[in-house]
């Protein structure tokens, strides 16, 4: 799905988290929102997912105005920074949650839900952990379960907030490849937030560099490396 952000701004009381920003995400792209702490990455991602509403501006999905769509109507697969797995449910029930929440008319049968959850567990390469609780998983496993839970709703896009933030370097590298593979097999338009420039450059088709609520530069990784648009970008990507 093609996503367009048209002059979006966000004000929290007196702080401007986003000055009007515009951005077009081509259908099927893997996009990184890159920037230092407090630059407005999470705010922009939450606005896309419908968890936050912009002070001004519009969001367009496939050319249709989606600004007023509720979080449920957006059908965005959202992976939270701390994963936000339901701690009182097993991994199986976590992944099945979105399917069980559907209205009766469109809800799959029990057997069908079980089949899909099993398939997703295989996709994230953790076929045997369905009966465990989130507290019994490692950080990397939790991250993958969160991804499977988001994919279960057959989302129109995938939004990930610092998906590898809390993990050690080795696991990060593995999961990076995992995300790339899942993106390539599903073809979902994917936006992820990171403050690690190496991660953004290595993984993304398109990198959006942000600073203090503004977009500094949008471009392919090699173009940003070759031609940083502002002194901030130059400094940030060489840091």
């Amino acid at each position: 799905m093609h996503i367009e952000i048209d002059e979006i701004s966000k004000q929290f009381g007196t702080t401007a988290a986003l000055h009007p920003v515009s951005l077009a995400v081509p259908s099927g792209a893997l996009v990184a929102l890159l920037g230092p702490s407090g630059s407005g990455k999470t705010t922009l991602l939450r606005i896309l997912g419908g968890l936050e509403f912009p002070t001004s501006g519009r969001v367009l999905f496939d050319g249709q105005d989606a600004t007023g769509l509720s979080v449920q109507e957006r059908r965005a697969g959202f992976v939270f920074q701390s994963y936000a797995l339901f701690r009182h449910m097993t991994v199986f029930d976590n992944i099945a949650y979105g399917l069980n929440a559907r209205p009766r008319a469109t809800r799959p049968t029990r057997a069908e839900i079980a089949r899909r959850v099993t398939k997703l567990l295989e996709l994230i390469q953790l076929p045997d952990i369905g009966a465990r609780y989130p507290s019994q998983l490692s950080g990397g496993q939790r991250q993958r379960v969160a991804l499977a839970r988001a994919l279960a709703i057959e989302p129109r896009m995938l939004l990930l907030d610092e998906p590898f933030g809390a993990l050690d370097a080795k696991v990060r590298k593995e999961l990076r490849q995992g995300l790339r593979d899942i993106h390539d097999t599903t073809g979902l338009t994917t936006v992820f937030v990171t403050h690690d420039q190496e991660e953004a450059m290595e993984l993304a088709d398109l990198v959006v560099v942000m600073s203090m609520g503004r977009i500094e530069q949008i471009g392919k990784p090699q173009d940003i490396r070759a031609r940083p648009a502002t002194p901030f970008v130059r400094e940030f990507i060489t840091a």
Partner: protein
């Protein structure tokens, strides 16, 4: 630094641990305090109740006044505790899941019943709903008296016990944050479904604890209820009030028997809580991320 200067401690001990002597002294003090302040009075109640034998004690409990008091107290708890649980959940939900101005003020307001003397609270209800007030006068004319009747007692009980549930829930809900609720919403769940399947299960232990405390206090409240009830024997006299009246009349076996029942009701709720905790220990551990 040479090896010789690194002296091995004789025994490894966690930094927060006291020496055995201090530990035993602290344990002894705690138990002595518990025994003197809690256990001894509790035992004394039952000793007094059974002073004339168990038959006399049971007989006093089957008197119409005692039966009326027990029925009234249970009815009041059965009405005010669920209502306060609902209000408490709503208040805690509102305070922890939304940002708005005046939040600190609202939290203070929830605590107000703890700092206001119950007698004052009772008087406020009499002033507002008494036969001499505008609202109270009209209600009495319609045949629905508030003061010196059950509605007044329920109002007084609810006022006094209002903070228990909210106070238990607010810290738990703040600690848990909003992320799980937000996740449920992005997965397509409605607000109500999110509340039922995510929020409620996550707070159930705090909720249970708050409800039990609320219940214990609702059954035991004296001051506020004494002011609004009018102490009509067998009609508006709750268990604590009947106990006090019997005691004033030197009917000590009857007074202490009823007091024993009140204490037993409280003990049963405590046992219930402990039993639930033991039975669901695994889930308890799973819902706490430590």
């Amino acid at each position: 630094m040479s090896d010789a200067t690194i002296a091995k401690p004789a025994r490894f001990r966690p930094a927060t641990e006291e020496s055995p002597a201090t530990r035993w002294a602290l344990i002894a003090v705690s138990f002595a305090g518990l025994a003197i302040l809690v256990l001894a009075p509790l035992i004394a109640v039952f000793v007094e109740a059974l002073a004339d034998g168990i038959a006399a004690s049971l007989k006093s409990l089957t008197s119409p006044d005692a039966r009326g008091a027990i029925r009234l107290t249970l009815t009041i708890a059965a009405i005010s505790v669920p209502l306060n649980a609902i209000f408490g959940i709503a208040a805690a939900w509102f305070i922890t899941k939304f940002d708005f101005r005046g939040k600190a003020f609202l939290i203070t307001l929830i605590d107000l019943p703890f700092s206001v003397s119950p007698v004052v609270a009772g008087l406020c209800i009499v002033l507002m709903f008494g036969a001499n007030s505008a609202i109270g006068g009209w209600l009495v004319a319609q045949g629905y008296p508030i003061v010196f009747a059950m509605p007044g007692i329920i109002l007084a009980t609810m006022f006094v016990t209002f903070p228990f549930v909210a106070r238990e829930l607010i810290p738990v809900m703040i600690e848990q944050g909003r992320a799980e609720e937000e996740a449920a919403l992005t997965l397509g769940a409605s607000g109500w479904r999110t509340f039922r399947t995510v929020t409620l299960p996550n707070i159930r232990w705090a909720l249970l604890y708050g409800v039990l405390l609320c219940n214990a206090r609702a059954m035991g409240e004296f001051g506020a209820v004494a002011v609004v009830s009018g102490k009509i024997r067998g009609q508006t006299a709750t268990m604590p009030i009947t106990i006090e009246m019997l005691y004033q009349e030197y009917l000590s076996v009857a007074a202490f028997s009823l007091a024993g029942v009140l204490a037993l009701l409280a003990l049963v709720t405590l046992l219930l809580k402990t039993a639930l905790e033991i039975r669901h220990a695994d889930q308890l551990a799973a819902t706490h991320r430590h």
